[in-house]
Point group: C2
Chain length 365, copies 2
């Protein structure tokens, strides 16, 4: 099937299910068939897999009456068209990150996290109990979307570099595959951000068309094989300490669901929010060891580089806050929690982990 035919067939199916869903309010357990478009390829069993887990949980909780069929990026719409497709009803829902749509409104990026924002656990705390979900709901509603947090990667790696970088000067002129808010922040330091599809990263690094590329973390990165062409593997990915995924749902479609299905969807999304992080934390450690065995040269970003990037990030946040009251409201809420959270986490969590890491390095675990 040509992509265009597929798209039209798919759009037709979307309309059909609208018709089915509308009168369903009167029934307690109607058959509802939704389509979900993911921003990710099937090869990423971690992130793409989270949408399949969601679909399974919803089916299991409704005797297969509420079915959500998952489509990979490009099958219905492209990776970065999820918001549009959900907003205009091409599909009922999608699995993506707000930051992909920061061009429409930079405030979308804060749904996902952002450079020097919260870590995964803190981001979750801010969303569910710190007012984050409520603030984001107002933002998403403007695009006719209801959104639920639905998975996280945890802190990502900083990516693969062909050469070592040590000073801020080393960043100047560097062509890095990096997108969004972080790209615009790094431009302040002379970086030339590149937008390249996953499949093209390897040849671009091999030829030297680009100097570096970020991706996710060990488990996902391993699949791209970048260790062979850009062996310096930097950490941390300070722009994605949390990469909060969201389930985007067309608001009319969500409102047309019977109350029980709304409850199922909400609980399933929060369950997946736990599940995806657990999967990443389970598969990354062994992948890191394999990558090290394959020649990855692990390097921390220098404090000089982190400080410069932190400074550039604050400038970007100030500029956006000055121009965009919604951005400012959401960022300020997050930042207030961040200051307190990073005080508390220094005590029990950090000291425990520090001690255990010393034991790990001493070979005692």
């Amino acid at each position: 099937m040509k992509r265009r035919d597929f798209f039209q067939a798919a759009a037709g199916a979307g309309l059909a299910s609208t018709v089915i869903a509308a009168p369903a309010i009167a029934q307690s357990a109607p058959d509802v068939h939704w389509r979900l478009t993911s921003s990710y390829p099937k090869s990423l069993d971690t992130i793409y897999g989270a949408a399949e887990t969601l679909s399974r949980y919803v089916a299991e909780a409704t005797d297969n009456k509420f079915k959500i069929q998952v489509f990979a990026a490009g099958e219905i719409v492209g990776a970065l068209q999820v918001l549009d497709a959900v907003q205009n009803g091409t599909v009922q829902c999608g699995h993506t990150v707000g930051q992909f749509y920061w061009g429409k409104d930079p405030a979308f990026a804060l749904a996902t996290g952002g450079p020097f924002c919260l870590n995964s656990r803190m981001h979750s705390a801010w969303l569910y109990y710190g007012g984050g979900n409520e603030l984001l709901d107002k933002l998403f509603a403007q695009s006719n979307i209801t959104a639920f947090p639905c998975g996280n990667t945890g802190a990502q790696m900083g990516g693969w570099f062909r050469k070592e970088i040590k000073t801020v000067q080393d960043l100047n002129g560097l062509k890095i595959r990096i997108a969004g808010l972080t790209g615009s922040m790094l431009q302040k330091l002379g970086v030339v951000p590149q937008q390249i599809a996953a499949g093209e990263i390897y040849p671009a690094l091999e030829r030297g068309t680009i100097d570096a590329s970020e991706w996710v973390g060990p488990y996902d990165d391993e699949k791209l094989g970048l260790v062979k062409v850009a062996p310096y593997y930097y950490y941390p990915g300070f722009w994605e300490a949390s990469a909060q995924q969201h389930l985007f749902i067309n608001r009319d479609q969500f409102n047309s669901l019977p109350p029980a299905y709304k409850g199922v969807l909400k609980a399933a999304a929060q369950a997946v929010n736990c599940d995806m992080q657990a999967k990443y934390d389970a598969v990354n450690p062994a992948a890191l060891k394999r990558l090290a065995g394959a020649g990855a040269q692990l390097r921390p970003f220098s404090v000089e580089i982190l400080d410069a990037c932190f400074g550039a990030a604050q400038e970007v946040y100030s500029e956006l806050s000055a121009k965009n009251p919604t951005f400012k409201t959401i960022y300020d809420s997050m930042a207030r929690y961040r200051a307190e959270a990073y005080l508390w986490f220094q005590l029990a969590e950090y000291n425990y982990d520090s001690y255990m890491m010393r034991q790990q390095r001493a070979g005692k675990l």
Copy 2:
């Protein structure tokens, strides 16, 4: 109602709902009414509240047809009788921690965590994707229980001490309110573990009947007011870097549920597993600031003390592994993951958090 009458009435209700639930398999959405006994008092809105959240999620996902009524510790059975009450069908389910039942089988403690085991995110990873749930399911099945992970506190504080402790010698003869496996481990260092109910901790510390008490973390601890009688607030609570809660379900009752209700319960439990951690991470930071304002003297355990406790813990784990093959199987599985996880977490997560904590201390957040 006298407690005994309450218990009998409750037991009767439990039988009645067994009768209702049994033929329900034929119906797709029967009315099911369960009772859940919590190990916690209502005053702990964090942990006790997690069971109420579970109940709400299940009700919302089933049009209020599957109702789970939550009872606080002592309303039906005591805090430490949850396993027995679920096993023998007094209630259909309970919210508790495996470690309370380590006297029956020390392997139960590993469901919760344990001294120098995994942190909260790692514990979750091990349970869902590292084989932990499957190993524990075999163990729980021997008590006729199906168990789902259902909430975590994160790394706890080490508790409140009347005097500073700096050396291992300072632990000798110290009366600390601390239970379970940790108590038996600390005995090796001369500590005299005390079991005292929550309401008696304050007067015991005030009178000097005990020298120290652990509880949970800032938000829960604040309610006990211990800062006034034992101001030295130590960290980390190295025996509870994860305090994994579980939903215990009577296995016959679970098996008698319609498939959709099983799916709802499973998804809701995993959603609560996310939710309770998020709530703790949201409320602890502000509580810590209030406690510091009220005079809490924050103190890290010295490396000397941590090393001695780590050594004692390894002895206990070796002794239990030698005697108990189930314990050994579960502990070895967890320990294998722990060694790899504490290598991986040193890179992106730890370096990111370290940098952000430096910024916090520098007043830049």
